[in-house]
């Protein structure tokens, strides 16, 4: 990088570091505050004396939450959803992108099929018709209402398709020359070469499934079937209801807990999986974001 030597620029560099440093911290400080609340003594929490450092360090809130069957149950449902949902997504991405990566002259109708997949990203039926459809198809109150409607992630399919088209054609041609059919070529040649793209799209699918909450709230009537984020959403909405706080307050007090520190630990636990995957996300997503946009 070309550097100007003026004092003005030096001052700018100094403040730039400071400003960006503070900015970066503001994105993490709220999380630290919640963490501190979750590890603090109830008295301090209620007295609003907790800043960024826990006061009266204890893990009572976490112990309570982890013994709560509803919370653990929802967490397991979320994990189930992430596992099955991502597997289904990845399978459909691969199986759809590979044929579409061929050219029109190799696969008649390919262009039309690509348009067929692109159109729903421009125009959609919206909430009500989709809801009625799920109901009519019999997926209401069914775990698979969370998996099947979103099984084909069209943007990911397109990204993958472009990625495969970017692979060197000679390798594929050599494979066909050697008499390999499409399934063999896909398994032995294409997939190993597509691992970076698969990793990126897989991670996005995982994060998407972990964070999804709205669909469960409208398709599953029994809260016991809700994934974690949906349960969290209802807990937070409830806590804004004063009466609930009054009622639960007595019970909680006996356990030296306040609604606030309980909720804080629930929030932290809901965040843990994302934090765990985050280093991998970092590694892959910048490549992933530019994957599709470089192709024209």
């Amino acid at each position: 990088m070309v550097k100007g030597d003026s004092t003005g620029y030096r001052i700018f560099i100094f403040f730039n570091h400071g400003f960006l440093g503070i900015l970066a911290l503001t994105t993490i400080l709220p999380l630290f505050h919640i963490l501190a609340l979750s590890l603090s003594d109830n008295a301090a929490v209620v007295a609003n004396a907790v800043g960024l450092i826990p006061k009266g360090f204890n893990t009572v809130a976490y112990e309570y939450v982890l013994r709560d069957n509803k919370f653990i149950g929802s967490m397991l449902i979320s994990i189930k959803r992430v596992a099955i949902g991502t597997a289904v997504n990845l399978f459909l991405i691969v199986v759809t992108a590979y044929p579409l990566a061929q050219n029109e002259n190799k696969l008649r109708g390919r262009n039309a099929i690509v348009w067929y997949f692109i159109f729903p990203t421009l125009f959609s039926g919206g909430l009500i018709p989709t809801y009625l459809l799920i109901r009519d198809v019999g997926l209401m109150d069914n775990f698979f209402a969370l998996i099947v409607p979103g099984a084909v992630p069209i943007f990911s399919v397109i990204l993958m398709m472009n990625y495969i088209r970017g692979l060197p054609k000679e390798i594929f041609e050599a494979s066909y020359m050697d008499g390999a059919g499409h399934l063999t070529t896909l398994a032995k040649i294409c997939l190993p070469l597509s691992l970076p793209s698969l990793a990126t799209l897989g991670l996005f699918a995982m994060v998407g499934h972990w964070n999804a909450w709205f669909d469960a709230t409208i398709y599953l009537n029994d809260i016991a079937q809700w994934p974690l984020q949906s349960l969290m959403r209802s807990l937070i909405a409830q806590s804004q209801d004063i009466e609930k706080i009054m009622q639960e307050g007595d019970m909680m007090k006996a356990l030296k807990l306040s609604n606030k520190s309980l909720q804080a630990s629930q929030l932290m636990l809901s965040t843990v999986p994302i934090l765990l995957v985050y280093p991998f996300l970092q590694k892959y997503f910048v490549k992933g974001i530019t994957l599709g946009s470089v192709k024209s």
Binding site: M1, V2, G4, S6, F12, H17, F19, L20, L23, A24, T26, T27, I28, P30, L31, H33, I34, N48, L92, V95, L100, K106, L107, R108, I113, Y116, F117, I118, P120, L122, F123, S124, G125, G126, L127, I128, P129, T130, L132, V148, V152, I154, G181, H182, L183, N211, A212, F214, Q229, I236, K260, A264, L267, S270, T271, Y278, F285, V286, I289, S296
Partner: protein, 332 residues
């Protein structure tokens, strides 16, 4: 599974049985044989597409047909086919609703402010970050600022509801210690919109800056060297080299975001809002959800959805055309 093997083996079986003369490109000279050969070779490919085609048809195309209930007096018992046709009645009702104009206004205002301010913040942030030379510092800042993007609005909303609370929230505590009155960030019509916009930008600015950072890295070094020779200091370099260098990216992203004007952030607002702030915070999607789903007015909800989908579609087409014209970017 067995069928796949049959499909793979078929061309070889046929070749053996029929012993067709083969041309140089591996296909026989007879047309029907060629087509048959083609179909069987490619049958695998077409079969691979079947699951996705079927799923997209059921869950993406059938609901489009379902929009027909916007023109019917839909009764759950009669279904799509049996409900009475009422033409444009729902649309007339929709436009006549007292809240409709306000909700439309809320949606557009919130969406536009998010897009405009968000873009400026992302650009400024990436420009500043671009000036950092230390790779470790840069990576640390990126790591921290990208994180909120990956957390759901349930979590982020939960965090903000906590720290913005008037009953012991961190922010109001600080304000009160500084001598100010507590602010009802999420409870007053004056503060709700700014809070929504601010928290959205806070969540996304890191992620939004990725493309700008990539564009900045792509500017030719020689342009800077020429500018230095011409006596430009760093500021002048920014104005005359950097900004023009990423202008096409800026225009492209601005054009593409046009299509999202009617989507002002459904999940975020659903998590953060309450009846006290409907006046400034209720958007098309939340209104549709309450009325169409919670209250069960399916036809009215579908009418709203149809309007939104059509306008959105036109806006997206417009945005693609603009991107083509002004940023030389062809999507298709």
């Amino acid at each position: 599974m067995k069928q796949d093997y049959a499909i793979i083996l078929m061309p070889h079986v046929i070749k053996m049985m029929v012993a067709l003369p083969e041309g140089e490109d591996g296909m026989s000279s007879r047309k029907t044989a060629r087509i048959w050969n083609y179909l069987t070779l490619n049958a695998t490919l077409y079969c691979m597409l079947v699951p996705a085609i079927v799923l997209v048809f059921i869950f993406n195309y059938v609901p489009m047909y379902g929009l027909i209930i916007a023109f019917q007096d839909y009764q759950p018992t009669s279904g799509f086919w049996g409900s009475r046709f009422v033409g444009l009645d729902w649309f007339k009702l929709m436009v006549a609703m007292p809240d409709f104009k306000q909700i439309l206004w809320n949606t557009v205002v919130i969406a536009l402010l998010k897009i405009v301010i968000g873009t400026i913040v992302a650009i400024v942030f990436s420009l500043l970050l671009h000036e950092i030379r230390s790779k470790i510092f840069k990576r640390s800042v990126q790591t921290l600022t990208y994180l909120p993007y990956f957390l759901s609005w349930v979590i982020i909303g939960g965090i903000f509801i906590n720290i913005l609370s008037t009953n012991g929230g961190l922010i109001n505590n600080v304000l009160q210690q500084l001598g100010f009155d507590p602010i009802f960030f999420l409870g007053s019509n004056t503060w709700f919109r700014p809070t929504v916009i601010f928290t959205d930008i806070w969540k996304n600015f890191g992620w939004n800056s990725i493309l700008y950072l990539a564009a900045l890295a792509g500017i030719n070094e020689e342009l800077y060297e020429t500018a230095v020779i011409d006596g430009a200091n760093r500021w002048k370099q920014t104005v005359y080299v950097t900004l023009p260098g990423i202008s096409s990216t800026i225009i492209l992203l601005a054009c593409l975001s046009l299509g999202g004007i009617l989507s002002a952030g459904f999940e975020q607002i659903l998590v953060l809002y309450n009846p006290a702030v409907y006046q400034t915070g209720d958007i098309l999607d939340t209104f549709l959800y309450r009325m169409g789903l919670v209250d069960g007015q399916f036809s009215l909800g579908a009418a709203l959805g149809l309007m939104q989908a059509i306008v959105g579609f036109l806006l997206i087409l417009l945005s693609y055309k603009l991107a083509e014209r002004y940023a030389n970017y062809r999507i298709f």
